[in-house]
């Protein structure tokens, strides 16, 4: 444990270095890459996912998983759209959607923290069930026709070149970083993820912390869903479908251990920047969606594998103690 800090720093260092390389290559290969508009586009296209990534980091560090986030995003978007289309003021519809999302999260939390079911099972059921609820509400329709102020919130810049979702993301980045690394709650999250028994014995109210995390996850997912509805201007039953894998990928590439207890917010933020820039560069270079996904898959594996191999090689030649064997935040059974 003693050089945990050092290792985490080097993980982030690696992400930063790859990011620099990606940015440099993009700037050389794709002419429009460095324009302000493209930089805004690049964030705007995935900002809803990025917002959920922040809260998913808390979920995974606490040793749990939430597979239902994309379905909650879809459900919240559908609630806003369906209510607005039936004459409910959009402001009210937004509040209801956020409430529904929080309830979904609370329900997940209840089954996990109070009943004691595995979060994978609970949120897998949520993934199917919440999407199902969205379908019940919207059936085979596509609902749009939001008031202009709502769509322009999603599509127009409100501060300099920045649209609302980016500002929310920026604020949340700061907030999430402070909560995770500086607050008592953040410490609880780590303790919970490292060892739930220890957490219990050391007086952490484990159920309450987990309930809070899952409810926050539901709320933030719903917020993202509403922002997505505003950006797209129309909502369907499939809105945000499949986003959970991208979201989890970004958290894991950020150096967060899937087994809980390890990972940092700066790592996750670098991972978000890296994936968004990589995708944008590949897209500008006319690389198909399949290859983009493949490249990110390779990057995900190599980012863990290469440090591991280097560590193994070093320990074989006896130059350094065995502790560098494991990659940062991602110890595996051995």
């Amino acid at each position: 444990m003693r050089d945990l800090g050092l290792r985490l720093r080097s993980w982030e260092g690696m992400l930063l270095a790859i990011l620099v390389v990606v940015v440099a290559l993009n700037a050389l290969a794709a002419p429009g890459y460095l324009t302000v508009q493209n930089q805004i586009n690049l964030f705007e296209l995935s900002v809803e996912k990025a917002i959920v990534v922040l809260v998913m980091t808390f979920v995974i560090i606490s040793g749990e998983i939430d597979l239902s986030v994309a379905s909650v995003m879809g459900l919240a978007a559908v609630v806003v759209a369906v209510l607005s289309s039936q004459g409910v003021p959009t402001e009210v519809a937004i509040v209801v959607a956020l409430g529904v999302g929080s309830l979904c999260g609370l329900a997940n939390g209840f089954w996990v923290a109070i009943v004691g079911l595995p979060s994978l099972a609970v949120t897998l059921a949520g993934l199917i069930g919440y999407r199902g609820l969205a379908r019940v509400l919207i059936e085979d329709r596509s609902v749009g026709g939001f008031p202009d102020w709502f769509e322009s919130l999603g599509q127009q810049p409100i501060l300099g070149p920045l649209p609302l979702a980016l500002i929310i993301f920026a604020v949340m980045v700061v907030g999430a970083t402070i909560i995770l690394s500086r607050s008592g709650f953040g410490r609880y999250v780590y303790v919970l993820g490292s060892n739930i028994q220890v957490a219990r014995f050391s007086g952490v109210r484990t159920s309450r912390v987990r309930l809070t995390i899952f409810t926050a996850s539901g709320f933030v997912a719903a917020l993202s869903g509403v922002l997505l509805a505003a950006r797209l201007g129309a909502v369907r039953g499939s809105t945000a479908e499949g986003f959970e894998l991208d979201i989890i990928t970004m958290v894991l590439l950020g150096g967060v251990s899937i087994f809980g207890g390890r990972g940092t917010m700066p790592g996750v933020i670098l991972s978000i920047l890296l994936i968004l820039n990589l995708r944008n560069g590949l897209g500008l270079a006319n690389v198909t969606g399949n290859t983009q996904t493949g490249v990110i898959g390779v990057l995900l594996i190599l980012s863990v594998l290469i440090p591991n191999l280097v560590g193994m090689a070093r320990s074989r030649f006896g130059r350094e103690e065995a502790v560098t064997l494991t990659s940062p935040g991602m110890t595996q059974i051995d």
Binding site: S142, L232, A234, S238, G289, V310
Partner: protein, 376 residues
């Protein structure tokens, strides 16, 4: 630490250079070159269009174009690309056509990404088979503002926002009539029950066609046939297969399954064949001859319909080229020559509330007499 970093970097560079070099080769200079040519040629052709003649394309102009299907890896879109390439060769466009698409599971988000990036890439036209419904409209509008035309084909933007034109394969209302005719045919002179097996509940063109079918069925001519159910197989073989069997179990008197999707029709036909139900329940809808030939010959799917995706790709390319070079403006009533396919007129799309279309047509109805030739 240093060694680790260095190796990680090398690895990434290898991936990046390996994957991005082919696409990155397209020079930005030619885009700039194409713009003056396009604007220079604007006034003349529109004048000739007003005079009533069909506008003809001037080959050899440099136009950067992208063909964006719903996703990559299935036959209809590949055929469309073949047609577009044929047109590109004919028109001697020095810019290579880029044929890119998202993954099947990330289709909506992926299409929006490509659309958003299009102006940055200097594309003059995006030819889109829309899978995102109206969700792509803001991105398409932004692209139009930034100078990239959006021509849809196969599946339009329902609200027509951000869309210059829609190259329609056939008249959407006529798809309803053709499906009603086939249902009547297959259920026999005494009529009977049939059900629809669609793609996903929010597949815009499938929904439009089912609506057209329901409209067509109101005609007293079809009084004997009854549409009893609509189910969704999400364009996944496994799901469609199970849904087809469930339809048969749910409706004991069912005589036909109508699947307006190439994945659904093949899966349903296979399901009926496996459960030896082909004598009782016939399968029909929209299918690819090469995928349906064996079911048509053995009587599981005696007839089905489709249009040529090669022609659709060809006409879409022609139309988009004319639009991007300024030869046509994309207004109602303009006439142009679509290469080997003859003359077309831009008209209001009667199957949507707004939007303009170029109607290709017609259908081919396939049966045991013509399916083998078409499957080659």
């Amino acid at each position: 630490m240093n060694v680790r970093l260095a190796i990680a970097l090398l690895g990434t560079i290898a991936i990046l250079t390996g994957c991005s070099s082919p696409g990155a080769a397209s020079p930005a200079a030619s885009v700039a070159a194409s713009t003056p040519a396009a604007s220079a040629s604007e006034p003349a052709p529109s004048a000739s269009a007003a005079a009533g003649g069909a506008v003809k394309a001037t080959p050899g102009q440099s136009v950067k174009m992208m063909l964006l299907p719903k996703f990559l890896g299935i036959l209809p879109f590949d055929q469309a690309n073949k047609g577009a390439e044929e047109a590109a060769t004919e028109l001697a466009n020095p810019e290579k056509l880029s044929f890119v698409g998202p993954t099947a599971e990330n289709s909506v988000q992926g299409q929006i990404e490509f659309m958003t990036n299009a102006p940055t890439q200097g594309l003059k036209v995006v030819m889109l088979s829309n899978n995102a419904g109206d969700q792509i409209a803001p991105a398409a509008e932004a692209a139009q503002t930034a100078g990239t035309k959006v021509v849809t084909w196969d599946s339009p933007i329902p609200s027509a926002k951000g869309e210059s034109l829609f190259v329609a394969q056939v008249d959407f209302d006529s798809i309803g009539v053709v499906m009603a005719d086939m249902a009547l045919d297959l259920t026999g002179s005494d009529g009977g029950e049939f059900a629809v097996l669609s793609a996903s509940p929010d597949a815009a063109n499938q929904n439009a066609w089912i609506a057209a079918l329901e409209k067509a069925l109101k005609d007293p001519k079809y009084a004997a046939v009854k549409l009893v159910d609509t189910v969704y197989g999400d364009d996944v073989s496994e799901k469609s297969y199970n849904q087809a069997l469930a339809l048969v179990d749910k409706h004991p008197k069912l005589e036909a399954i109508m699947a307006p999707t190439t994945v659904g029709i093949a899966a349903a036909a296979k399901a009926m064949q496996d459960e030896k139900l082909c004598d009782k329940v016939k399968v029909s809808g929209l299918g690819l001859p090469s995928e349906m030939v064996s079911y048509t010959l053995n009587g599981c799917a005696p007839e089905f319909a489709l249009w040529s995706f090669v022609d659709l790709g060809y006409l879409t390319y022609y139309t988009s080229y004319l639009l991007a070079t300024g030869a046509i403006q994309g207004t109602e009533g303009e006439q142009f020559t679509g290469g080997r396919m003859g003359d077309y007129t831009i008209e209001k799309d009667p199957t949507r509330d707004a939007g303009l279309r170029v109607l290709m047509g017609p259908f081919t109805v396939y049966n045991k007499d013509n399916v083998e030739a078409a499957a080659k």
